[in-house]
Subunit: 364 residues, 2 copies
């Protein structure tokens, strides 16, 4: 016995399909007794309400917002900032009755292919369809930037799916949500400079998607692809701090920060301060310092960026720059709302705030 359809309900209630539709959607005039009769018939037949697929086709709306997670998907979930932004986004959109569809960014992003064994008897380039190109969605949100030449982006624009870009490079025609991170780093730089630090090292986010890690030489420094990394370094210089060493990590994770910290602190000319481009990395640096027997902030000042919860550092409070993660999610929600209403959303840039903790002090 197949599921009943709206037509069945209408027949059983003795009304036309259109009237039955009105009873559920509420769009249009309908007499209260009629409405009740329809709903009663529906209950009788165990009808679960209008089939979403039918509704979606007719109305042209899927009620779905696709979220493209930049880079290797698996890693995005381990980056606290990405997770918290997603968090804010999901709650905001849920209130609008919109669902969030998670989409791994396709191959076009330059993400390395997953290291699954390739069976030679399988059809070459097996038809794993690119979800970004085939899934139904009303709006797409790009989290953590993508390449404008991205395969996914091209597919989306061809399909007329509007795109909202969070923390990515400006792309023509896309609304953008970003933060004033240049200014944040300028403030951090000024803070460190005023404390008297001159030998400062930086730990940065990945320059590109190659997932390289280690100290960046002059050549590598010229190859920074991600705007965000360059902008933050520039901000630091604006604040009066020119890093003597720059360490690039492959992922913004605590482990990577530990690794970076150990390298930078064991080398010659130990820096008196380390500026990390994320709190996760900074936490790693703090841990590395402790393990090497260095006192923070006595022997080493450390700064982060983001303002995420870092309960694991105990009493230690990281000096960092707080960015409004929840507000970013909410802003995206408002943009989606605007786009669905047919208007053009305006891009926003949030200000950030310096928070001085217990990890910075004058050098010894």
């Amino acid at each position: 016995m197949a599921r009943p359809t709206l037509a069945d309900v209408a027949r059983s209630a003795g009304v036309s399909v259109s009237t039955a539709s009105l009873a559920f959607s509420g769009a249009g005039p309908i007499a209260e007794p009629t409405r009740e009769r329809v709903l009663a018939a529906a209950a009788e037949l165990d009808y679960a309400g209008p089939n979403p697929l039918g509704r979606q086709l007719r109305s042209g709306r899927s009620g779905i917002v696709g979220v493209l997670l930049g880079g290797v998907l698996g890693r995005s979930f381990r980056e606290p900032v990405a997770v918290q932004t997603l968090d804010g986004l999901v709650s905001t959109l849920a209130e609008l009755g919109l669902g969030v569809l998670l989409l791994p960014a396709g191959r076009g992003t330059g993400a390395p292919p997953p290291p699954t064994e390739t069976r030679t008897d399988a059809p070459a380039a097996a038809a794993v369809p690119n979800l970004a190109a085939t899934a139904a969605m009303d709006v797409a949100v790009l989290l953590w930037g993508a390449n404008p030449a991205d395969e996914d982006l091209i597919a989306l624009s061809r399909r007329d799916v509007p795109v909202i870009n969070v923390e990515g490079p400006a792309i023509a025609g896309n609304a953008t949500v970003s933060i004033n991170d240049r200014d944040g780093f300028a403030q951090l730089g000024a803070h460190l400079a005023s404390l008297g630090h001159t030998r400062v090292a930086a730990v940065t986010l990945p320059f590109d998607r190659s997932r390289t890690s280690g100290i960046a030489d002059a050549e590598r420094l010229g190859q920074i692809k991600l705007d965000i990394v360059r902008r933050r370094l520039e901000g630091l210089r604006e604040g009066g701090v020119d890093p003597v060493t720059v360490y690039e990590v492959a992922y913004s994770q605590v482990e990577q920060g530990v690794e970076a910290g150990k390298t930078l602190l064991s080398g010659p000319d130990r820096p008196t301060a380390i500026v990390a481009q994320s709190d996760a990395l900074a936490a790693g640096v703090v841990i590395a310092a402790r393990e090497l027997g260095l006192d923070v902030p006595g022997d080493l000042s450390v700064t982060g960026f983001d303002g995420i919860d870092l309960p694991w550092l105990g009493e230690t409070v990281l000096t960092t720059v707080v960015q409004p993660l929840a507000e970013k999610g909410a802003a995206v929600g408002r943009m989606v709302e605007a786009l669905l209403a047919g208007s053009e959303p305006e891009s926003v840039t949030f200000d950030v705030e310096l928070r001085i903790g217990t990890t910075t002090a004058p050098p010894r």
Copy 2:
């Protein structure tokens, strides 16, 4: 100028709509030259491929797997286990060409309503539609259990959406993915008992959705609603350890562990070991102990559960029980595959493994 449809492409290529469809879907015989002509026409018209909504309606498949996050959505994202399970799930499903739709659990779960100001002029119970009941999906995955009487579950079964239950109470007709956590705790108990611990406290996950926290008295201990909590406590007893005190937290987060640790360690009759029901909580306990000047494992042994990455503890390696998170995600993926193929998936229970780290030792 509206987007072209398959009919436009067919007309332009001089073939019928059905043939054009075949050119894209590959289901059915089609001559290579014809296929190329259709694709060329599509490229010419800037056609982005078959509209997913049309395809979905006709085929009755949405290609979407809904994931119901138990409890308050916002918190799920902060619980590492939930995030990592989700992570594995998304990657597995992506390979099957399926998208993951995140659904906040509805009001039926007993989650407290979001504390938004209620405008009195707004219509009462404003029609925020329950996504679980209205969104298109082929299969639903329940992460972290829900009440069988759940509003969402009822709606799903009415719609004939099959449900896969991860770490939840067994519900008739649902396939289940779970782990042998009772055995894991029995092993932990045996380990501690063999070391000679007799005064052991436990820090548990929430008993229900009331988000209570604090030391549970006898009455409260009789009200444990979540199977998982009870089962783990029972396992511990099987292993030969009967906790002298049980502390219930509201969320499985490091902060909560710190709080629990401070309370348990400052009271009279300080325990010589603390068994936490998650690694996040255990990490909090370790931090609390350190802040109180206690040596781990010298003054206090601590155990966790889950086996997640805990880079913030530095050199310290938590004694814990490792559960196969990635495999759980993959198992769900296989179940979804089976359900879509029309077969009945079998429930699985994964074994867990005791990992002895540097946080347990004989009591002083």
